[in-house]
């Protein structure tokens, strides 16, 4: 970075932006700083997009499964299984706190187990498959609620087993939560790495422009004036790098989104970013510019304090 104090401006107290702009070095993409910031911003955008997408996935899954219970009638005798299933369905429909209850059609059950047991596996003479009832409660499903349902069905369907649907996905939610924390940690670490890179760049610029700084200092330039020169210079680099990094990051996120969308899986689809998510990603370079300028300012001010 080369300090530029070109014609037509001032560095006095109360400088306007225009006057200050004349004193800052021109942004030069030939230096490493814009590229370092571009890479950092791209990685932060990708990590943040992953974190947001995972959060959306978990949120959608929780919303879908919240209040959901599955009643299985585990009875080897097909006639008794059918009778108990109908009785349980009737019982559930009339219970307070149960919003809806539906018998899962045999076709759906067949489709669910087909990948593991093959076609026609639920025939009466083959493996006995439990009858399934999908019920939705008004509130969330607590152990006490499960016990209440179990008590209500004990008489009508003694072979009924009741599970909260969210319990099945607890390990998945745990894993998603871990990945979210990982994404957050990555964003934090990349931010720190960028601050460190800017710090080194500012120190290097300070060293290579020491002569100029001393002159400005001895002619009555204040620390804040000198820091502004560096701050602005690194800010210009950061804006260029941030814009490039955002573009790179968005391209990568869109590419990955398209690849995941082609999987056609419900959970993955629910991770799509909304407007808020995209706006948050757009704020990454803004934060990077602010971080870079703040780091430059503080490091230069600290170095200047060593001078008289």
């Amino acid at each position: 970075m080369k300090l530029r104090l070109s014609s037509g401006g001032g560095v006095g107290n109360g400088l306007g932006g225009d006057a200050q702009a004349r004193l800052v070095p021109q942004a030069r993409l030939s230096g490493p700083m814009p590229w370092v910031i571009a890479i950092m911003v791209a990685l932060v955008v990708i990590a943040a997009a992953a974190g947001l997408s995972l959060r959306n996935t978990a949120k959608a899954a929780r919303a879908e499964l919240s209040g959901g219970v599955t009643v299985q009638i585990v009875e080897p005798d097909a006639a008794s299984r059918e009778r108990q299933a109908q009785a349980a369905l009737a019982q559930l429909t009339g219970l307070p706190g149960v919003v809806s209850a539906r018998r899962v059609p045999q076709d759906e059950v067949d489709a669910l187990i087909e990948p593991w047991l093959g076609e026609g596996s639920s025939d009466a003479d083959a493996i006995p498959v439990p009858a399934l009832i999908d019920a939705r409660l008004a509130g969330s499903v607590s152990p006490a609620e499960i016990a209440r349902l179990r008590g209500a069905l004990r008489g009508a369907a003694p072979a009924a087993r009741i599970d909260a649907q969210s319990d099945w996905l607890k390990p998945v939610f745990g894993a998603i939560e871990s990945l979210q924390w990982l994404a957050l940690a990555l964003v934090g670490l990349l931010g720190l790495a960028m601050a460190a890179a800017v710090l080194l760049a500012a120190r290097s610029a300070l060293g290579s422009n020491r002569e100029t700084i001393e002159i400005v200092h001895l002619l009555g330039g204040t620390d804040v004036q000198i820091a502004r020169i560096f701050q602005r210079s690194i800010g210009v680099d950061a804006v260029a790098g941030g814009a490039l990094g955002l573009a790179l990051g968005i391209v990568a996120v869109l590419f990955l989104a398209r690849r995941f969308a082609s999987l056609g899986a419900g959970l993955v689809d629910s991770g799509a970013l909304g407007i808020g998510g995209w706006l948050l990603l757009a704020l990454v370079p803004v934060a990077a510019v602010a971080l870079a300028m703040l780091t430059a300012r503080l490091s230069v001010l600290r170095a200047l304090r060593q001078m008289l």
Binding site: L5, G8, E211, L219, G220, G221, Q225
Partner: protein, 246 residues
Amino acid sequence: MNKPADGEIVQFDNVGLRYGAGREVLSDLSFTLFPGSFYFITGASGAGKTSLLKLLYLAQRPSRGMIRMFGADAITLPRERLPLMRRRMGVVFQDFRLVPHLSAFDNVALPLRIAGASEKEVTKPVRDMLDWVGLSERMDARPATLSGGEQQRVAIARAVIGRPEILVADEPTGNVDPDMAIKLLRLFEALNRLGTTVLVATHDLHLLQKVPDSLIMRLDKGRLTDPTGALRFPPRRPARAPQGVQ
């Protein structure tokens, strides 16, 4: 300690300076500079002239003693207030210290811009000043393309452009021909007549005779001697009453 004289612009009292753990390069300096006075500091190379000037333009703190400038204690003054004090001075550095990537115009304009002058307030005075030192044709030239004498004239123009209250010049005529040396000296005198205190460090004894009424301080191995009464107490006031100085 000497009692501060009324209206003094600079007062040194028992000032000593050593670099690190070395011997004192300046010892027991006590003197007062009045507004509107013209001083020469002479002495052989290594006598401590540049070190004394560094104390004056606040590039160095003394190891001991007291320095008052513009009525304030320059040693205990908070660091944030030093820039404003520096803006009241003009300095011609021995090695010119021009900003290498700025043109002659921008180098001369630097003190005005640092002080927050608008472009309107900068352009004409800078052009006039460069014209006066004979560099109107070299306004856009970078220091590396200027001769030693031209660089020195840019450095002098930069030092005086802001009409400083005190001008400190370290060998300001060392790289210019005798005619230009006289011309620059006349510029310093003109400034002096307008109220600027001028302090010129030089080893050119001929120069001293060119400015009547100037006071001379001689440095010898870091100590001041007083051939013209510049150091006596009460200090000798300038012979002429400069304009704008009460």
